[in-house]
């Protein structure tokens, strides 16, 4: 323990030069802006900044990238809360309770509570990375395809069973999302599936679906109902962004639970922040005394997923540093950067380049602190920027979504597709069909199919592999437990409603 702390302190000392601190601050700010732009996430932010690291030493280069990585995680929540347009998949859940708070004139509070939750989640993830990386790496290395399949299935089932009022509506959206996720060329067999245009061969980018369903769908809804955002007082005070003692007490446990979920899920390759945020949200809704508040501006519904999202950063670095396995697009880019700086990712990384790795972890820690301060101080900037354009917000969001969809891979086909998903998003909102399950299944469909295939190959076609492996069996039991809970809970709710009606 003491040795670990000394190593970490050594890393901090390396980062405590004015140049490195300035680099981290710059990276954090750039990351925040990139994360806030619809369509751009951590991978895009890191990829954009790599050329700047060519002339830097490894410590400064990794400091810059750590700032950007953490910054994009912080930035993703801004547009989710302010204009209900998530920048990337993990920020979807932020919309669910962040935007309703914005509509109630508590946008500053929502940004404040989400910034604090992001900081706490990031802090938790980094602490786990520092102290428990080797132990966790040993545990996770034993996970195989059946365990990953069950884990992804758990994520899908949890959101389908616990999101919204109707399980059947959530199921419908989940299977629609699955079909969207399966469009394109099946790279194992070479067959194409539902490719009605050549551009669909590579599949449908989930960011296009997100921007369409949340950005365009929301704009159309606002145009129909002539919605105007309630932005609160023009000159609000700093204390209004901060939760008071009572509110902080209410969100502290959700933050902690979200951080734990985010770190654990972040460690697992391919799961990442998206599934962590959905699980954290579903978990909080399940634990809440009054789940009906969720989706209407419940601070716990904002705090837990935000903490989970940022905690997944620390978690995702565990397999990268200890085994050289990247679990997400962002960490895959970092793996390339390690190689670019002459480091050898894998079990020997900590032995051969321990000083640089510890400096990188310290950089992540410092970036987390910078981001908390800068994001809290910049809340008036964010909210006032929206205030300036509030009257024209609909058209500006539409224009930004169109350019963002084009910027994904410079294809106009994506922009048309986004418009179609926008219309679909508007219709689903009208019929109260939950969009969360659809988005999650679009994101997870191909991984789920791939792990399912691998599992059956391992067992030579036997489905028993999912119940003969202990971890897989435990997750399966959790899925069944969630299903039973959901059914029983719905029945109790129905009975309560019937009793209330009868009493009236």
């Amino acid at each position: 323990m003491l040795e670990i702390l000394l190593d970490f302190w050594g890393g901090c000392l390396q980062m405590m030069t004015p140049y490195n601190l300035l680099i981290i601050l710059l990276g954090s700010l750039v990351g925040t802006v990139v994360g806030a732009l619809p369509g751009l996430g951590p991978s895009a932010g890191l990829a954009l900044m790599i050329p700047m690291t060519f002339t830097m030493n490894p410590t400064a280069g990794l400091a810059l990238l750590m700032g950007v990585y953490m910054g994009t995680m912080f930035g993703g929540r801004i547009t989710s809360i302010l204009i209900n347009t998530p920048g990337d998949a993990p920020a979807i859940v932020t919309c669910m309770d962040g935007y309703p708070l914005m509509c109630q004139g508590r946008g500053g509070f929502a940004l404040g509570i989400s910034a604090i939750s992001s900081f706490m989640g990031g802090f938790f993830g980094i602490a786990v990375l520092i102290f428990m990386a080797p132990t966790i790496a040993d545990l996770v290395i034993s996970f195989g395809a059946p365990e990953y399949f069950m884990l992804l299935l758990l994520g899908l089932c949890t959101i389908a069973l616990l999101a919204g009022d109707s399980v059947m509506k959530a199921m419908l959206m989940t299977v629609i999302g699955f079909i969207i996720g399966l469009v394109g060329c099946d790279f194992v067999s070479g067959y194409t599936r539902f490719c009605y245009a050549p551009e669909l061969l590579e599949g449908i980018d989930f960011v296009v679906v997100i921007m369409g369903m949340y950005g365009i769908g929301e704009v159309l809804h606002n145009v129909e109902h002539n919605v105007h955002l309630e932005l609160g007082k023009p000159n609000f005070k700093l204390r209004e962004y901060f939760p008071n003692r009572k509110e902080l007490k209410e969100v502290s446990l959700p933050m902690l639970r979200g951080s734990l979920i985010g770190t654990v899920i972040g460690i697992l390759p391919a799961a990442g922040g998206t599934i962590a945020t959905f699980l954290a949200y579903a978990g909080e809704k399940k634990l809440a005394k009054d789940p009906d508040r969720f989706g209407k501006g419940a601070p716990e519904g904002l705090a837990a997923p935000e903490a989970a999202n940022n905690a997944s950063v620390g978690g995702a670095l565990v397999p990268l540093i200890t085994m050289g396995i990247p679990g997400s697009g962002g960490t895959a880019i970092l793996l390339g950067v390690f190689i670019m700086f002459g480091m050898r990712p894998g079990p020997l990384l900590m032995v051969e380049s321990g000083d640089i790795v510890w400096a990188m972890i310290a950089g992540l820690f410092i970036a987390n602190i910078f981001l908390l301060i800068s994001n809290l101080l910049m809340i008036p900037v964010f909210v006032n920027a929206i205030r300036i354009v509030e009257k024209h917000l609909s058209v500006l969001v539409l224009a930004l979504c169109c350019v963002g969809a084009y910027a994904l891979n410079y294809s106009f086909f994506n922009v048309w597709l986004m418009l179609i998903f926008g219309l679909f998003g508007y219709v689903t909102k009208k019929f109260k069909l939950p969009t969360g399950p659809l988005i999650l299944s679009v994101v997870l469909a191909s991984s789920l199919e791939s792990y399912f295939r691998q599992s059956l190959m391992l067992s030579k076609g036997s489905y028993m592999i999912f119940v003969t492996r202990p971890v897989s069996l435990v997750i399966l039991l959790i899925i069944l437990g969630t299903a039973v809970f959901s059914v029983v809970n719905n029945q109790i709710k129905k009975k309560k409603k019937a009793a209330e009606k009868a009493a009236k």
Partner: protein
């Protein structure tokens, strides 16, 4: 009675049904594992079943969802303008199309003063160009003709 919600569910089931032959034509298994048609077939079947169940549930407890009649022209204008924007982005040029789109919607649809429309349109287009083209290096034409 036909409602918007019921029509939507029928349409969804119909689309799933139309996609079914392609899923049926794909191999369901390959040696020890599933083929490319296995999951699509199950999922399309599930869509049809879910739509049928939701339709039955709706017969018991009707979902009331309608589009505000007075908002339909404005919504249609927004959708058509956005479709036109995407077409022009490809054939006329991205930045010019975005500028004209923002100006037109603010001035003609939202009925704001011409000066406001011009100001918002120019500033936004310039910002989009600066962020996406200059900084992020996204290939982006101002106008395809010059």
């Amino acid at each position: 009675m036909i409602t918007l919600y019921r029509a939507f569910l029928v349409l969804l089931a119909l689309v799933a049904g139309l996609m079914m032959p392609e899923a049926l034509g794909l191999p369901k298994d390959s040696q020890y594992t599933i083929g490319p048609g296995f999951l699509p077939l199950i999922m399309l079947g599930a869509i049809i079943v879910c739509c049928a169940i939701l339709l039955l549930l709706d017969l018991k407890d009707k979902t009331n969802a309608s589009v505000k009649k007075e908002s339909i022209p404005k919504m249609l204008l927004y959708i058509l303008a956005t479709a036109l924007l995407i077409f022009c982005m490809e054939h006329v040029g991205i930045v010019l199309s975005v500028a004209v789109y923002i100006f037109s919607v603010i001035f003609f649809v939202e009925r704001h003063p011409v000066f406001t429309a011009a100001k918002v349109s120019i500033i936004t287009s310039a910002l989009i160009y600066a962020i996406f083209h200059v900084w992020l290096k996204v290939p982006m034409t101002i106008c395809n003709f010059f």
